[in-house]
Symmetry: C2
Subunit: 157 residues, 2 copies
Amino acid sequence: MKTFRHLSILTAGAALLAVGSVSLAQTEVDPTVKARQSQMQLIAYHTGILGAIAKGEAEYDATVAQRAASNLNAVAMLAPEPMWREGTAQGEAEGTYAKPEVWSDAAGFAEKLEGLRQASAEMIDAAGTDLETLRAGMGKLGGACKACHETYRVPKN
Amino acid sequence: MKTFRHLSILTAGAALLAVGSVSLAQTEVDPTVKARQSQMQLIAYHTGILGAIAKGEAEYDATVAQRAASNLNAVAMLAPEPMWREGTAQGEAEGTYAKPEVWSDAAGFAEKLEGLRQASAEMIDAAGTDLETLRAGMGKLGGACKACHETYRVPKN
């Protein structure tokens, strides 16, 4: 009986784990979504390098800062079409926070993307100039991120 | 007693789930590693678009194909330094398959990266020409991926 009870416990545990796995499989991220999340990841990563320098958490180094800004701009300059396909908004594809407005208001979305492209392009020069100029450019960069997220991304919490 | 047994089962289940969560937390991917995995993800995604066209799984469209190749090349052109930091090989950072040879044989790694940059640059023209030219370019592109993975990545299975 004791053995049986242990088996029941293990079975119940396994069942709970199985439920966990199934729900993970069900919410497997769409490849198109995964691609643009990779794009966002690279934008956040390189912005983070610049942010750490701006906050004095990392030492200012013109080469390091300029490389981060160049990468950031290159990732912002990627053609959006392959990654921002119609039919991959929240509710249509798994794992995304993209609002349908990305597509229904394509001109507005393009304008926000252009804002990021400009801010990151300016940051290439700013980051290579000096710490103060880099710091001054962070506001526009952060503003470009925020402007798009506020309008075209479903709040994450 | 029945209630108690149910509680035990739930507790055991919760404990098993907790163990699962802890092991996930322990293997949380290093941000630098996550950034280059995003780079790889974008390379794989855009190569996949070209591959599907080459195999006839997707219709040939010069604009679509050329966009994918342009994005692929842009991602290959990113400065590697911010994402391929020393001290982030397998055994040094969580979640990576990068061999220490990426750093100990930096010239060899740079050569493989150059191979991908060239193959993807050539693919921009090839993809925009016609299906046969795109197909012909896939070999060099796939070869560039393979050449680097064989030497600088720990086998995944």
